[in-house]
Symmetry: D2
Subunit: 164 residues, 4 copies
């Protein structure tokens, strides 16, 4: 699980705007469960996010076939959806007082999520991507995809996210 | 994370029928990702399953509020749904040749799952339960719930599962 | 389709509190699509609602098997979920100014819904019921069920609803 | 509701392969509930389907805003998903005996569906499109979209469909 020892600065794209960089580091470094997944965020704008991770022993569901646990797939799709929901919210809240913004972010959460498992989770490297398809002042809806390094789509997701 | 060192025999109810016991041990002990969740299965029949786990550092999403990561919730609901889908299938396949049964089990998988996050995942001990609401020869649909030790419902799930 | 000519006063339980009665009549009588479904609401409190309807030619999907169209099932589950979401919101908004309340109700809508089709929609009379499982100030999540007159469960649903 | 009197031959694209034409006519003409929606199918291949319909009084949920009932949206998305699931199945079953094929088609059904309501259903003409994202021998998963004549996306859907 060498991936877990990657220096922090390489986990998140170095050229992100400060607000997005802060959110990205929060998700990759400060959430214990996400750290065990070994997530990195090489691409992150208000329109789209990419969350990368490498296969490692701890992510396996079926040990014989060495495929991702369905819960790992769901977890990473939820992370990608949450990130893009926050980014979209930040973009619309550009003039919002920072204290109010922090208060709203603290209450941010997933309302519901659907995951469609399209293919067995085989691969060495995985990319979860997400974009917003409903952008509301309090609720956003996002769609997410998980692909492996060969470009095969492993899962599809839809999630509704709430801001404070 | 003392829970991870609990002797194997206490992870699964000692009085299960052999087929259910084998499935329960497969999920608690042989799936690497499930081991890190620290799951135990104290109740398991063809009608209902209970999957227990204790809060520990590695399951936390929000470190300030110390609440479960949404991906952990999704993972455990998927485990509970998968277990009861298999048990229900085994009950209907009582006379099936063991070789065919194994082949079908190997292809067992989640088709899709919806998770509704009802309350923040606070607690020390959690119980995921599941039951079958559509019992088909190839596809079963299950509903799942997650409660904490105080009886507060944290999440609700619905999943469709396929057998070989 | 005699059901469509049932006098209006019998479509809604006669003893409802005025606010719930107004909502019930809005759904049964003033929404054109609902009128064609022939809905009645014999039970409606802040905790649970029942929406009844009778099979008629216009609701049929498969004409050979004479079963409900899946879209009818989805429609009625959505109506039941929407009704109980509104009732739950009204209960929490007891002291809210009527003008503000009306403004919020006008913006009420379904965010998303999942329907699980458990059995073919056979029957003469159907009952959709709904209850709230997450009760927020802006978003509620409801679960819904559809049974026929023999008590067979035909469908299960989960929906997220937003208020103003 | 002039649309309902459109001659049958214009409801379905005139140049479809016979098997797809038969399925298209089954959905547009022989399912009573679909007839009341006024559906036509101008595009239908094994990869993608388009289902068109015009706004009319009977499809309205909110009479003041004149927007589509959420149940209509769900119904049409389910129709589009079902059509493409069948087409995809037919393509893989090219050499299947017609009697067996008919038997399987008769048992075809929606397992579950999620609908995300992205914008109020305003418009004069609507297009539902669908494609298959998981193509199995028994279960297919489809994603569906609903747009109005201005190209605004009104809803997004995901559904799992079973064959015999």
């Amino acid at each position: 699980m060498a991936d877990q020892h990657t220096p922090q600065q390489t986990r998140v794209a170095p050229d992100l705007p400060p607000k997005l960089a802060a959110i990205a580091h929060l998700f990759t470094d400060q959430m214990p469960f996400n750290r065990s997944l070994g997530l990195s965020i090489p691409y992150f704008t208000c329109d789209k996010v990419e969350v990368h991770f490498a296969m490692h022993e701890g992510l396996i569901g079926n040990p014989i076939q060495r495929i991702l646990h369905g819960g790992v797939t769901a977890s990473v799709l939820d992370v990608a959806g949450g990130l893009i929901a926050i980014a979209n919210f930040l973009e619309k809240s550009d003039t919002m007082d920072q204290a109010l913004l922090n208060k709203k972010l603290a209450k941010m959460g997933t309302i519901d999520m659907r995951v469609d498992y399209l293919r067995p989770g085989r691969g060495e490297h995985f990319v979860a991507s997400a974009e917003v398809i409903r952008s509301g002042s309090r609720v956003s809806v996002c769609r997410m995809e998980l692909h492996n390094e060969k470009g095969s789509q492993i899962a599809f997701g839809t999630g509704a996210y709430m801001m404070g």
